[in-house]
């Protein structure tokens, strides 16, 4: 059966769905818009959750902040599943080539023992930090309100698993696929005194049940500090001593983080701007978690950076303060 030419002339009766037209007008809508806005169920819920009988299945009261429209938290990347997964597949393709190259040339394996040990001590334990981040993003995607933010959190959940696995691969590049670096790194994570404060705060955050507090503490506070310290400052120091081999395989992480930051800013900014009470709440959370993670990172910063650890952290903290101000919060300059 073929369509005759004349049906090409049939004008559509409407250009998009009713709920999209009410937001943006009846004009052609993007796949991001149609796949995102208003698709979470909002009313007429059946049954009280056995796991949270005081609230509804979807319930705006699972965070202390309030928004007239949670769909104001638009993802600037405009990721829906298809565009996200295709973007990641493309990036992964490039990463695969980097990793193959690194494996073939033994970029990490041929480093001096002290350098290999430094990678296992300083970076490989972060696979567990990423797993904590995965847990936290999954909490947001489970209990958040509005697909704009929850779908991005769901993608972040998977991204963090991807990052945890990528970091695991760094260990395998170091140990020739035996996996003993992963065992060693897990011991550092669970037992080494330099790492324990960070693990403590990761566990504390995993216990937090306000989903917006979690997104703020994880992505804006913890990630900013951790990514800058390990994948920026430590990498620079390491490269200066051992050449750029490590930087090549950290590229994925830093690029991912840059991309993610655009989303994080777009999530935080409208919530701060919504009301004075939101702003005050976010300020309190930011101050609390900034203090907690900064002090938690202090021993490991000195452990991996040596004497400049303290200054490095101070520099990172200053940048975080600047970012908070850009988002409409205040920089309460936490003392180290």
């Amino acid at each position: 059966m073929t369509v005759e030419i004349r049906v090409q002339a049939v004008k559509p009766l409407r250009n998009t769905f009713g709920h999209i037209a009410r937001r943006f007008g009846d004009k052609a809508a993007s796949r991001y818009q149609e796949g995102t806005y208003d698709i979470q169920s909002e009313v007429n819920h059946h049954y009280k959750p056995l796991w949270d009988q005081e609230r509804d299945l979807y319930d705006k009261r699972r965070t202390a902040v309030e928004m007239r429209d949670w769909y104001a938290l638009k993802d600037p990347r405009q990721y829906y599943y298809g565009s996200w997964t295709i973007a990641r597949a493309k990036q992964q393709d490039a990463v695969d080539r980097q990793m193959e190259f690194a494996e073939k040339r033994e970029l990490l394996r041929s480093l001096p023992e002290a350098a290999r040990k430094a990678i296992v001590f300083a970076l490989v334990p972060l696979r567990h930090f990423e797993w904590g981040a995965n847990t936290n993003m999954c909490m947001v995607s489970a209990y958040g309100w509005g697909t704009a933010v929850t779908q991005a959190a769901s993608m972040a959940t998977m991204d963090r698993l991807g990052m945890a696995q990528h970091i695991s691969r760094l260990g395998l590049l170091v140990d020739g696929n035996l996996g003993d670096s992963l065992v060693q790194a897990k011991n550092y994570w669970t037992d080494h005194s330099d790492w324990q404060p960070l693990r403590r705060e990761v566990e504390n955050l995993m216990a937090c049940r306000d989903w917006f507090e979690v997104i703020l503490a994880q992505t804006l506070i913890a990630d900013s500090l951790v990514y800058a310290l390990f994948f920026n400052h430590f990498d620079s120091k390491f490269s200066a001593e051992n050449g750029p081999g490590l930087s090549t395989v950290l590229d994925f992480l830093t690029r991912w983080h840059d991309e993610s930051n655009k989303w994080v800013d777009a999530v935080v900014k409208p919530v701060v701007a919504e009301s004075e009470s939101n702003r005050a709440q976010l300020q309190a959370w930011a101050d609390h978690w900034r203090t907690a993670f900064l002090s938690a990172l202090s021993p490991i910063a000195q452990g991996i950076m040596g004497p400049i650890g303290r200054d490095t952290l101070a520099e990172i903290n200053t940048k975080l303060g600047t970012r908070l101000v850009k988002l409409g919060l205040q920089d309460h300059g936490v003392a180290l």
């Binding site: 009766l13 709920h19 149609e34 059946h46 959750p49 295709i86 999954c138 995607s141 170091v174 003993d180």
Partner: protein, 532 residues
């Protein structure tokens, strides 16, 4: 630390997965396990070793992105081509479009609910492998919701009754059936949820939705729908495997889990089966070109394949789901009983309804030799005669609903197709009604939960179903018309008779082909309709 001399070890798929994934979690010491994972104990399931969990697909994120990215590229290429070529005019006829309305209004909401439900499980289980499997399924389900929206978006531009799908899902009376099904699952604990959805629904039942139905979409010329359907089902194949793995894991962890799991299998098999009545009617009545009947599909996908599955599970002490025999007795009836129901309530539906043509009834006689000619053909012939006389039959009174599955009490006694099946119970001094023993059993186990069901008929009578800008004390207030508007249904436009429906009229005008391929008429001269 190894020396750099020996070549790097070559990792198998299993080893690679295990190294990258298995040990990511750790035993917390600054917080208790109970604080971090508060939801895993209350259901009574005992897990002694989360590491006994076997991941059948062993997907790491790099592979996940690679294969899913490839699937998405293929799928969107087809959707793009479909839209550029106005593929919506290539389907068999305009009745086929009506089935798509049930999909967009009913199924997208389910996919989205599944997405959120798996996010909960992906957060709440302590085991790493189990959580990752759940998280992957969570984001897959988002994929399904979005690919369905994107594939059907183009149809919405030309046809009625699709533009308000999230609104309808939350409010339309017959969509409370799928909605309550999934909300029942999500409001349960994480173990029940995963058994409900991965095992009872996906493993045992969704092949019925996606295989014969999607193959039917292809047969009816809808390349867009078949593409998202089959592409989604390839994810489902992973999910089903998760379903069987999770059940074996629970059954092997502790013998005390067996009766709990059996109870969930009983509940969710019946709940899923009742939900699929919708698919039964879609298969037998809404595909103008038919691939197989509901009865045949039930035989292949439940009796044969489901039978094989339960034979396999017998070694754990698991038996066939309770009341499965009833489903076999009902398989020659349910699609006809539901279509009869939709027909008489068509004025209150979000899509038009029609009587099967003589040619279609002959197909049903062939497929349902024991039931169709005896019980159902006379109905349709009688109603067709009333239509010819210009006094079509309509049921103007709202139906009595089942407290559990929320269908109207439209099913008959398993052994007597001339008697409606009524079951009644009472709880805290109030009466509750059910369509079947299966639904009554489910209520009786958890009355504290099911009293909270949001039954649209009762809500209408409570005066909760009209939009905020409507004055219910105004003299011209019509509660039923206002209820339809509240549901996102355009009264007098979206539902009603297929003949003369806006889609039928426009279809013939635009394509010069009959709106009903089995009953060609000439309405060429009708003007294009924009709205009521």
């Amino acid at each position: 630390m190894t020396t750099s001399k020996a070549p790097a070890k070559k990792l198998s798929l299993k080893e690679n997965y295990a190294l990258l994934t298995r040990d990511l979690g750790w035993k917390p010491s600054y917080q208790t396990e109970d604080t971090l994972f508060p939801a895993v104990k209350f259901e009574g399931i005992k897990i002694h070793d989360w590491d006994k969990w076997e991941d059948p697909f062993r997907l790491t994120m790099d592979a996940y992105w690679k294969y899913q990215g490839e699937k998405e590229r293929k799928l969107y290429a087809i959707i793009d081509a479909f839209q550029q070529n106005n593929g919506q005019f290539n389907v068999s006829d305009a009745r086929y479009l009506q089935a798509l309305k049930l999909f967009i209004n009913g199924v997208i909401g389910l996919e989205y609910s599944a997405h959120r439900g798996f996010n909960i499980v992906g957060r709440e289980f302590p085991g790493v492998g189990t959580r990752i499997a759940a998280q992957m399924q969570a984001i897959d389900e988002l994929r399904h919701a979005q690919t369905q929206i994107h594939a059907l978006s183009h149809y919405n531009k030309y046809f009625a009754g699709m533009a308000e799908f999230p609104h309808q899902f939350d409010r339309a009376w017959y969509l409370s059936i799928p909605k309550s099904f999934f909300e029942d699952a999500i409001t349960s604990g994480p173990f029940e949820y995963i058994i409900a959805i991965c095992f009872s629904f996906e493993y045992v039942l969704t092949n019925l939705v996606f295989m014969p139905w999607m193959s039917g979409a292809a047969y009816n010329g809808d390349m867009s729908t078949v593409s998202f359907g089959f592409s989604a089902q390839s994810d489902e194949a992973r999910h089903m495997t998760l379903g069987i793995e999770v059940i074996k894991f629970l059954l092997e962890q502790d013998p005390a889990n067996v009766p709990i799991v059996q109870g969930w299998i009983d509940k969710w098999f019946w709940r899923g089966y009742r939900l699929l009545t919708l698919i039964a009617a879609m298969m037998d009545y809404m595909l103008p070109k038919r691939v197989m009947s509901w009865s045949e599909a039930w035989d292949i996908y439940f009796e044969q394949n489901g039978g094989a599955l339960f034979a396999d599970l017998a070694r754990y002490g698991i038996r066939m789901p309770k009341h499965w025999e009833v489903t076999v007795k009902e398989k020659g009836h349910v699609s006809h009983q539901l279509w009869s129901t939709f027909y008489q309530f068509r004025h209150a539906a979000g899509f038009p309804v029609w009587l099967p043509t003589p040619e279609e009834m002959d197909w049903m006689s062939l497929k349902y030799p024991d039931t169709f000619d005896k019980y159902y053909r006379p109905r349709y012939e009688h109603w067709a005669e009333l239509e010819r006389q210009g006094k079509p039959f309509v049921n103007a009174t709202l139906p009595q609903l089942c407290q559990t599955c929320q269908w109207p009490l439209l099913f008959t006694e398993a052994d007597d197709p001339t008697e409606i099946c009524y079951r009644e119970g009472s709880y805290l001094g109030e009466k509750f009604h059910f369509c079947s023993d299966g639904c009554k059993d489910i209520f009786s186990k958890e009355p504290e939960k099911f009293v909270h069901a949001h039954l649209p008929v009762h809500q209408i009578y409570q005066g909760n179903y009209f939009n905020a800008d409507v004055n219910p004390t105004a003299p011209d207030f019509n509660p039923l018309v206002e209820a339809l508007k509240y549901m996102g249904i355009n009264p007098g436009v979206d539902g009603g008779d297929f003949a003369g429906h806006i889609d039928a009229v426009n279809w013939e005008l635009w394509t010069k082909r009959p709106a009903n391929m089995h009953a060609p008429t000439t309405t060429d001269t009708a003007p294009e309709r924009k709205s009521a």
